[in-house]
C-alpha cells in the first residue's frame, strides 16, 4: 500500500547558503574530539561509567540513563576520556573523548539476532538505541514498551537541510540492514519525498512506504505519522533519522558501532557551503574553521528552526546532520516595524517582500519585536499540517492542565512540529520550549 499525501499547510523558507551536492572528507576523523551532550536527551539523567583519563574504544559505554539503566551511550571513537564538563549544581554538560587515531572498536555479536528481544539487546548494548526516539514525548524510546511502528522520514524539509538522497546514495544496503533489524522490534514505515524522482529509498523492503508532497514541515516524522498511523493514548511509535538507520545497519553488518556520518555545512555565513563526511558528535571546529565568516556569526548545530546554538569550540548534536551558520541580529532597526520592508521576509503580507516570492533571504537571529500577549489567531493553524489545535494546546501547557493537554493531542507532537509556529509568532514567544515543557510534564506524570 502506498499513498501520496498532499499537505498544503506549512512554509518553505528560502535561505541563502545552500550547499552544493559535492562531498569532501574531513581529515583525521579518528583523531577528532567528540562529546556526547546529555542536554540532547530530554528527561534523561546520565550515570557516568568512565572517568577522566580512561581509555575507551568506539562502542565503549560512556554513561547510561539513571532512569532506564539498560540504555547505553557509547563513544563513537577510540581514545581517551579527556574531560567531563559540568555546569552549576554539577550538572554534566559534556563528556569529551579525544580520538587516538587507532580506530579500535568494541565487537558485538550480530549473528542470530532473530527475535525482538535479541534485537533490542543488541541495539541497547552497542549504544545505538538512543537514536531511537519515541512518540509520545519525543524522548529516547523506552526499551520496556511495546511499539506499534518504527517510522523513518527519508527527507528533511527544513531550510538548508541535508539531502539524504545525496548522502545515502551509496548506503542503501546499510539502510536496508538497519530497517531489517528495526523491523524485528515493530513494523517499519517509510515516508518519501514525493518531489524526488527515482527515489533511492523506493525499493527498500519494509511494511509500508508513503510519499508526502508539500512545504516544510512535510518532512517531519511526526507530521507524517499523524497522517498514516496517528499516535493514540497508550501507543508508542519509534522515530529514527535515515542516516542513523544506516549506522544501525553497519552495526548489524560489521558488528561495530561505526558512527561515521555526512553533515551539511550551510548558511549565508559559510564561504563554501558543502557536505562533509565526519563522525557523530564531532567537534565542529575542524569542519568550519576557515570556511565561515566568524565575525558576529550564529553557529547552529542543526537547522535554523530547531537547532542548538553552539560556539566555534562546540560539538555536533547527537541527532543533528547539519551545521548552519547565519548572522547574529544584534542591531537596532530604526522604525523597522513601520517602514515598507521590501527585503524583510514574513509569512504575512504586511511587508512588501511579498512582491519577490522567489528571493533567497539572508535571515539573522533578531527577534524582530518583543514578547506580547497572545492576540493574533490563525497563524499557527496555517503552518501545522496536523489535526491539532495549536494555540489551545499551547495554552493548556502554559496552564499545566495535564488532562486537557492529553485531550488536545500532546502525544502526537514534538517540539520540531511547532518550529514554524514559533518562527511566525507575532507574540514572539518560545513555543518549542513551551511544547517541551508540556512533554516533560507528561513524562513526569507517567513515571
Amino acid at each position: 500500500m502506498s499513498k501520496v499525501i498532499k499537505l498544503k499547510k506549512g512554509l518553505d523558507i528560502n535561505l541563502k547558503g545552500k550547499a552544493e551536492l559535492a562531498l569532501t572528507e574531513a581529515s583525521g576523523i579518528a583523531e577528532v574530539e567528540i562529546s556526547i551532550k546529555p542536554s540532547d536527551f530530554p528527561c534523561m539523567k546520565p550515570a557516568l561509567k568512565v572517568k577522566e583519563g580512561d581509555k575507551v574504544k568506539a562502542g565503549s559505554v560512556l554513561f547510561t540513563d539513571k532512569y532506564r539503566p539498560e540504555i547505553c551511550f557509547c563513544s563513537p571513537v577510540s581514545g581517551t576520556v579527556a574531560e567531563i564538563r559540568r555546569a552549576e549544581r554539577r550538572r554534566i554538560t559534556d563528556i569529551v573523548v579525544k580520538g587516538d587515531g587507532a580506530s579500535e572498536y568494541e565487537k558485538f555479536d550480530t549473528a542470530n539476532v532473530n527475535s525482538k528481544d535479541a534485537a533490542k539487546e543488541l541495539l541497547l548494548k552497542s549504544g545505538v538505541w538512543p537514536y531511537l526516539r519515541q512518540r509520545p514525548f519525543n524522548i529516547i524510546a523506552d526499551p520496556q514498551s511495546e511499539f506499534k511502528a518504527v517510522y523513518v522520514s527519508t527527507f528533511d524539509s527544513a531550510p538548508l537541510a541535508p539531502d539524504y538522497q545525496f548522502i545515502l546514495k551509496d548506503q542503501v544496503a546499510e539502510f536496508q540492514a538497519g530497517v531489517d533489524i528495526l523491523g524485528k522490534i515493530a513494523p517499519v514505515y517509510l515516508g518519501l519525498d514525493a518531489k524526488v524522482k527515482d527515489n533511492i529509498f523506493a525499493g527498500v523492503k519494509c511494511k509500508e512506504i508513503n510519499s508526502f508532497d508539500g512545504p516544510h514541515p512535510a518532512g517531519n516524522a511526526g507530521v507524517q505519522i499523524s497522517h498514516i498511523i496517528p499516535v493514540n493514548k497508550g501507543e508508542n511509535v519509534i522515530v529514527v533519522n535515515p542516516q542513523d538507520v544506516a549506522i544501525i545497519g553497519r552495526l548489524v553488518k560489521n558488528g561495530i558501532y561505526d558512527a561515521k556520518k555526512t553533515v551539511v555545512i550551510a548558511g549565508s555565513k559559510v564561504n563554501k557551503p558543502q557536505y562533509i563526511k565526519t563522525i557523530a558528535n564531532t567537534s565542529v571546529a575542524p569542519l568550519i574553521n576557515g570556511n565561515i565568516d566568524a565575525d558576529n556569526a550564529r553557529i547552529i548545530s542543526g537547522n535554523v528552526l530547531t537547532g542548538t546554538k553552539i560556539d566555534e569550540k562546540g560539538f555536533l548534536g547527537f541527532y543533528d546532520n547539519a551545521i548552519t551558520v547565519i548572522p547574529e541580529g544584534n542591531y537596532y532597526d530604526f522604525f523597522g516595524w513601520a517602514l515598507p520592508g521590501f527585503k524583510k521576509f514574513s509569512v504575512s503580507r504586511t511587508f512588501f517582500s511579498w512582491l519577490t516570492p522567489k528571493k533567497q533571504y539572508d535571515l539573522d537571529t533578531n527577534m524582530h519585536g518583543e514578547e506580547r500577549a497572545y492576540v493574533v489567531t490563525g497563524t499557527y493553524e496555517k503552518l501545522l499540517p496536523m489535526d491539532i489545535l495549536p494555540l489551545q494546546l499551547i495554552k493548556a501547557i502554559l496552564a499545566e492542565n495535564i488532562e486537557l493537554m492529553e485531550d488536545l493531542g500532546i502525544y502526537e507532537v514534538a517540539e520540531e512540529d511547532f518550529a514554524l509556529c514559533e518562527f511566525a509568532d507575532t507574540s514572539k514567544t518560545e513555543i518549542q520550549a513551551i511544547i517541551r515543557k508540556g512533554l516533560d510534564l507528561m513524562v513526569a506524570e507517567s513515571r
Binding site: 496517528p230 493514540n232 493514548k233 497508550g234 501507543e235 550564529r298 547552529i300 535554523v304 528552526l305 530547531t306 537547532g307 546554538k309 547574529e328 541580529g329 544584534n330 537596532y332 532597526d333 530604526f334 522604525f335 523597522g336 516595524w337 513601520a338 524583510k344 521576509f345 509569512v347 504575512s348 503580507r349 504586511t350 511587508f351 539573522d364 537571529t365 533578531n366 527577534m367 524582530h368 519585536g369 518583543e370 506580547r372 500577549a373 497572545y374 492576540v375 493574533v376 489567531t377 490563525g378 497563524t379 493553524e381 489535526d387 489551545q392 485531550d407 488536545l408 493531542g409 518550529a419 514554524l420 514559533e422 518562527f423 509568532d425 507575532t426 507574540s427 518560545e430 513555543i431 520550549a433
Partner: protein
C-alpha cells in the same frame, strides 16, 4: 538616527531597576521600541524569526482604517455645510471635518493610553500595542457631535472594565472599542441616537439649519417610514449621515482588501458574516409584512455600521472565536443577529454593536464546541484503533 540611538542609550540606565526613573520603565520601553526594533536575539528554538510583530500587525489595521477615516472627515464637513445650506468646496469641508474629528481622536488616545501605560507599569510589563487600534476605532464609531468628556469617560471605562480587569491585552472578553460605544449608548442615549447627533453642530440651537434638512440616517428613515431619499449609490459610497467612519462601504471595502491581503484579519469571519446577514435578510424578506422588513436583503450590507463592524470590529482576534472552524460560526452568528436586532426588534434601528457584543460573548462557547469536537475525534480514533 544614530544621535537618537546614542541619546536613548545614554538615558536608558535611569529607567532600569534602581535608576531614578525606574517607575517609568514601561513608558521608556514603549518609546524606545517605537523608534527602534530592539536588538534582542533568539537564544533557543527557532533561531530566525518572522519580521512581523504586534506593532506591524496593529499598523496594518490602522492603515486599513485610514480610507474610511479620511472619508469620514470629509463627510462630516460636507453634511455640516449641507445643513447650513452652504457649499464651500471640498477642502473647506475636509478641514472642517478634520477639526471636528481630530480632537475626538486625541482625547481617545490620551485617555486610553494613559491607563495602558499606567497598568503596564503596575504590572511591570511592556506596553501592549492593542490600544493603537482601539484608540482609533472609538472615534470612528461615535457620532461627531459627541462631547469630548464623554469620549474620555467611555474610553477609560472600556479600557478599565473591558480590558484591564481581565488581565490586559489578549485577555478581554468583549471588544473594548465597542464597549466604549455601548457605554455611551446606554449612559447618554440622547447624545448617541436621534436625528441630530450625526451632523456636526446640528445639536446646537444657535446653528441655523436650512428648512427641510433632516440629519436622520437612511437606516432610521427606513425603520420609521420604510423609505429613504438617499440613493443606493449614496449609501454605498457613503454620502449619508452616520457615525464618523461607518458611512462609506467603498472605503471600508478598501480596508477589508488590505486586511485580507496582508493576512491580518480573518476573511472567514467577514465572509460568513456577510452570508449570515444575506440569508437572514432573505428569510425576513420572505416572511415579513411591514415596509421595513421588505427592504431588499442586500441593502443591509451598505446600511448603518454593518460593513465597518464586520470588517474592523468582529475580526478583532482576541474577542472573536479563536478556532478556524469557530470563526465561520461566529461570523455567521453576528451577520444573522445584526438583522434580527435591526428589523425584528422594535427598540433599536441599528443592531451591529449589539450583535458583535453578543458574538464576542458567544465566541468562547463556540470555541468550546469546536475544541470538544477535536477531542472527540481523537478519542474515537483511539477507540477504533484498539
Amino acid at each position: 538616527m544614530k544621535a537618537l540611538r546614542k541619546y536613548l542609550d545614554k538615558i536608558k540606565p535611569n529607567f532600569q531597576e534602581g535608576g531614578k526613573f525606574s517607575k517609568l520603565k514601561s513608558t521608556f520601553g514603549a518609546f524606545e521600541s517605537f523608534f527602534f526594533v530592539p536588538d534582542k536575539v533568539t537564544t533557543k528554538g527557532a533561531h530566525i524569526r518572522d519580521n512581523m510583530d504586534m506593532k506591524r500587525n496593529m499598523t496594518a489595521v490602522i492603515i486599513a482604517l485610514l480610507p474610511a477615516l479620511f472619508f469620514g472627515m470629509w463627510n462630516t464637513g460636507s453634511f455640516h455645510y449641507k445643513a447650513l445650506g452652504e457649499n464651500p468646496g471640498f477642502w473647506s469641508e475636509f478641514f472642517y471635518g478634520l477639526g471636528q474629528v481630530f480632537p475626538i481622536i486625541v482625547v481617545s488616545y490620551v485617555s486610553g493610553l494613559f491607563l495602558e501605560f499606567l497598568f503596564a507599569q503596575i504590572r511591570k510589563e511592556e506596553v501592549n500595542e492593542g490600544f493603537l487600534v482601539t484608540g482609533l476605532l472609538i472615534p470612528m464609531i461615535v457620532p461627531v457631535d459627541v462631547p469630548l468628556w464623554m469620549v474620555a469617560v467611555a474610553t477609560m471605562f472600556a479600557v478599565l472594565i473591558g480590558k484591564e480587569v481581565f488581565g490586559g491585552t489578549g485577555m478581554n472578553i468583549v471588544n473594548p472599542a465597542l464597549l466604549a460605544r455601548a457605554f455611551l449608548f446606554f449612559a447618554y442615549p440622547s447624545k448617541m441616537s436621534g436625528d441630530k447627533v450625526w451632523i456636526a453642530g446640528m445639536g446646537d440651537p444657535e446653528t441655523k439649519i436650512v428648512d427641510g434638512f433632516s440629519g436622520a440616517t437612511p437606516l432610521a428613515d427606513l425603520a420609521n417610514t420604510g423609505s429613504t431619499h438617499y440613493s443606493i449609490a449614496d449609501q454605498f459610497f457613503g454620502f449619508i449621515p452616520g457615525a464618523i467612519g461607518e458611512t462609506s462601504t467603498l472605503c471600508i471595502l478598501i480596508g477589508a482588501v488590505i486586511l485580507i491581503w496582508t493576512g491580518v484579519a480573518s476573511w472567514k469571519i467577514m465572509i460568513s458574516g456577510v452570508a449570515g446577514l444575506l440569508l437572514t435578510g432573505l428569510l425576513i424578506n420572505a416572511c415579513g409584512e411591514s415596509a421595513y422588513t421588505q427592504v431588499p436583503f442586500w441593502q443591509h450590507l451598505i446600511l448603518g455600521g454593518f460593513a465597518f463592524g464586520i470588517v474592523f470590529m468582529a475580526t478583532d482576534p482576541v474577542t472573536a472565536a479563536q478556532t478556524e472552524t469557530g470563526k465561520w460560526i461566529y461570523g455567521f452568528l453576528i451577520g444573522a443577529m445584526v438583522l434580527l436586532v435591526r428589523v425584528i426588534n422594535p427598540a433599536f434601528p441599528e443592531g451591529v454593536m449589539l450583535a458583535i457584543l453578543f458574538g464576542n460573548i458567544c465566541a468562547p462557547l463556540i470555541d468550546h464546541f469546536v475544541i470538544q469536537a477535536n477531542i472527540k475525534r481523537r478519542k474515537k480514533r483511539a477507540v477504533a484503533a484498539n
